[in-house]
Symmetry: C2
């Protein structure tokens, strides 16, 4: 039963007013200068990243990664897009078909720890289609005031179960939830 051994996690960083990007696309706000004395070391978070064996993202998140410095190494990356985008990496694949088929038919049988890293539209579609097991939000200690909202208007209510709360030394708080299945 591959569905039980693989997990799809939405992971995104957001400001306290829950924007995931500035209007101009700049990302310097992600570098917090805050100090939270009792926080965990950010190295713990880096250990976690090593367990991810597949990333899924929208085209703009992909373009940001190309522009800002590729953070995904050689881990397989699925980019959801119908546009024609530059592909100079062997581990990047573009996909424009049915999301349920992609996740159930191709990703879950092959990967254990699949991370959906944005943007807002991709997160919304994954939640709406019931393809998500967990949501992990890293809240950056800033109010951006304006920008691109995190999952806007999914249109359905979804109960969550709080799994873990981690406050890091740089003032970032990670909230980790499991989506609760309705009976």
């Amino acid at each position: 039963m591959t569905a039980h051994t693989s997990k799809v996690t939405i992971h995104m960083a957001a400001s306290l007013d829950f924007f995931i990007a500035r209007k101009d696309g700049s990302v310097s706000w992600l570098e917090t200068s805050d100090v939270y004395e009792n926080g965990a070391s950010f190295e713990d978070a880096e250990e976690l990243v090593k367990t991810i064996d597949c990333y899924v993202m929208g085209s703009r998140t992909y373009e940001d990664a190309l522009r800002l410095g590729w953070p995904y190494g050689d881990v397989p990356v699925l980019v959801l897009t119908s546009r024609s985008l530059p592909a100079d990496r062997d581990n990047v694949e573009f996909y424009s078909g049915d999301l349920r088929e992609l996740v159930g038919g191709r990703l879950r049988p092959r990967y254990r720890n699949i991370w959906v890293v944005g943007g807002a539209m991709v997160a919304r579609e994954f939640i709406r289609l019931g393809l998500v097991d967990d949501i992990r939000i890293s809240i950056i200690p800033i109010l951006l005031g304006d920008g691109t909202p995190f999952v806007d208007h999914v249109g359905i209510e979804q109960a969550l179960h709080l799994k873990v709360v981690t406050a890091f030394r740089n003032g970032i708080v990670e909230l980790w939830y499991e989506l609760r299945k309705t009976a």
Copy 2:
């Protein structure tokens, strides 16, 4: 120096997609059925509430409180409105003038622990005018999917300092921030 002995705190509850109200105004989603084993008791939160000596809110938050069961007891309540609203309590006062004057001239000299409890427009105006010391957000373990956003589009960036993170046994996480003054 009264400005140093009084504190203005924005306190609001929000879903993980950062809505503070359903479209239809119903509030049953605030009653979480989640269980977070290692969480703090919610009684700790109730102790805190006893230290609040003034509430400030917008007219719709006031009307909700009247409709849903008045939670503010006999603590002084300032309702920001230019509308004519029912007032059947001695501790409720309506105000439609300048916010800076209200906070600096009347509230800070008189009260130590002033809580601004919503809604989104009131929170935005307080932040925009620099009248806020702390923000405390209680994140309810649910995605609402749609509703009234928490502080929409303040229009200015504001760095925060993480003070305290508290995860409660009912799955609610309270994030407590201080607004960082820019030099």
